[in-house]
């Protein structure tokens, strides 16, 4: 009887595991089926590197290069802002802050992670957008820069908490070893703690970037949504995610436009997948 029970439970757990994989595969297949259809009319090269996105003109022009560059620009901008601040914050929490400040900071970071992205987008719209407009004397504050700054806030909690974990899991003996050689606190952090935690910190950065590239709501609200090739950080851009979210509702099911949006989904999927795999590689290297 007991053996039978074990058997049932084992199989149930197996089923749960398989279900997760099954659904992922199903989603991926669905995405492929809908998305690849667009390549009947547009060549993959023209789709990826075409410079204009006019999906409802006649004939439709389906080049997503402006969208890819929009996504990259916003993401790289967000990374440049959030990585130094995030890693610095993690070092402060893990190594320098007294116990009380540490707890307050950690709670604050978690709170930041809990803010829904649409709320962040809304706050950005009424505060950040006019600020960017006035500081740089622009016709509009809805720019890639605004998006980058806002998304940096979203990447920060991920980066801080995972990087802090990585620093925390550096064996105490490393730190003591460096200090015992006469290293200062900063030398210990810079030459021992950070290198020892580097793979975890890189994983934290990758996961933070993964979060940014998949983000939709906030970028849609504050990047201006102009599907043109961006020439600087101070112009409106449109990201891959925002395009899908904005246009899926009005695309006719089964039309070229509809398939093109799914194909954008595939591109996003591939990018996110690549980022996650890289992060995973770094995390495993650490163990």
């Amino acid at each position: 009887m007991r053996k039978f029970k074990e058997f049932i439970i084992e199989k149930l757990i197996l089923l749960c595991g398989l279900a997760a994989i099954f659904f992922v595969v199903l989603i991926f297949l669905f995405l492929l089926k809908e998305g690849l259809a667009v390549f009947k009319t547009v060549s993959p090269f023209k789709f990826l590197f075409g410079e204009s996105w006019y999906p409802i003109s006649e004939p439709a022009q389906l080049g997503i290069l402006p969208l890819i560059l929009g996504s990259l620009l916003v993401t790289v901008g967000a990374a440049i802002i959030s990585v130094p601040i995030g890693v610095g914050c993690a070092v402060y929490i893990a190594e320098i802050a007294p116990l009380k400040i540490k707890e307050v900071l950690k709670a604050g970071i978690e709170l930041l992670a809990a803010i829904p992205s649409v709320v962040l987008g809304f706050i950005g719209m009424v505060t950040l957008v006019p600020l960017v407009k006035n500081v740089f004397h622009l016709p509009t504050g809805l720019t890639a820069l605004s998006g980058s700054i806002m998304l940096a806030f979203m990447a920060m909690p991920t980066i801080v908490s995972i990087a802090e974990d990585a620093l925390y899991s550096v064996p105490k003996t490393y730190k003591e070893g460096a200090l015992a050689l006469g290293a200062t606190h900063w030398q210990t952090i810079w030459r021992v703690m950070l290198p020892a935690a580097s793979s975890g910190i890189l994983a934290a950065v990758m996961l933070g970037i993964g979060r940014v590239i998949g983000e939709t709501m906030a970028v849609m609200m504050i990047t201006g949504n102009a599907a043109v090739l961006p020439k600087s950080l101070l112009v409106p851009v449109r990201t891959l995610t925002a395009t899908i979210a904005a246009e899926m509702g009005e695309a006719v099911v089964g039309s070229e436009h509809f398939f093109a949006l799914f194909a954008i989904g595939i591109v996003l999927f591939v990018i996110s997948f690549a980022i996650n795999v890289t992060a995973d590689l770094f995390l495993h290297k650490r163990q």
Partner: protein, 248 residues
């Protein structure tokens, strides 16, 4: 000559009274062995000498510890730790080459000249009795070395910053007897130039290498005298009991 002069030293970690009214000295160019069961305060004592205890936020102390007549509280901790090096229980090479491991501390203290570095590294490795075994593969990773070699590498790394005192915290606890013998040879050789404090769980090791031996129990210094005396005619019954293996 007295190197460390310790008077009425009390140490607390939070509510735990880890060292109780310890007064003793460490003489220059001797090997002082410190023995005692776990929780006897011997490691706390050792970590007092280079102020590693300061890292613990609950650490409190009273009394005085002087290095060459200067209160160690008044010495900059980085400077103190350069003068008072430490070798830990587990060999702890950094993920770098053999050369870079030994040169690590020296570089950190500002020496950049390649020639000088090479000289220091060679000298330190020789003093740690490791040079002959590694001189042809200085660029290989330190992790390729055996446990005993890694521990001697850590000794060399400590020597490279030219300390005056070296603290050994159970340096052979993870080593086989042959590696242990090599580390002990290195220690005996080192005492001509350095002062050595050796905390060990291995009573026989204390008998083999120590000039004097201190016995700690429950945070108190029970007895400190010449090693032969401790092991032949200890003054205190508890010392006798411990070295005969009756407790601990």
């Amino acid at each position: 000559m007295v190197k460390f002069d310790i008077k009425d030293l009390n140490i607390w970690f939070g509510a735990v009274h880890a060292l109780k009214r310890v007064s003793m000295d460490v003489r220059a160019n001797e090997i002082l062995s410190v023995i005692g069961p776990s929780n006897s305060g011997k490691t706390t004592f050792l970590r007092m000498l280079n102020r590693l205890n300061d890292l613990n936020q609950n650490f409190k102390m009273s009394g005085s510890v002087k290095l060459d007549q200067n209160e160690i509280k008044t010495i900059d901790p980085e400077l103190l730790r350069k003068r008072v090096g430490m070798v830990f229980a587990l060999p702890l090479p950094l993920p770098l080459s053999i050369f870079d491991n030994v040169a690590y501390g020296v570089r950190m203290h500002g020496t950049k000249n390649k020639k000088t570095l090479e000289e220091i590294v060679e000298k330190s490795l020789k003093e740690a009795y490791l040079w002959e075994e590694v001189k042809d593969r200085m660029d290989t990773s330190a992790f390729k070395l055996s446990g005993g070699q890694q521990q001697r590498l850590c000794i060399a790394r400590t020597l490279a910053v030219e300390p005056e005192v070296i603290l050994f915290d159970e340096p052979c606890s993870g080593l086989d007897p042959i590696s242990t013998a090599k580390v002990e040879d290195a220690m005996v050789n080192l005492k001509q130039k350095y002062t050595i404090v050796l905390v060990t769980n291995n009573v026989k090791q204390a008998a083999r290498v120590g000039n004097r031996t201190a016995f700690f129990l429950g945070g108190e210094l029970i007895e400190l005298s010449a090693t032969e005396r401790i092991f032949t005619a200890p003054a205190d019954q508890r010392t006798d009991g411990y070295i005969r293996g009756k407790f601990g």
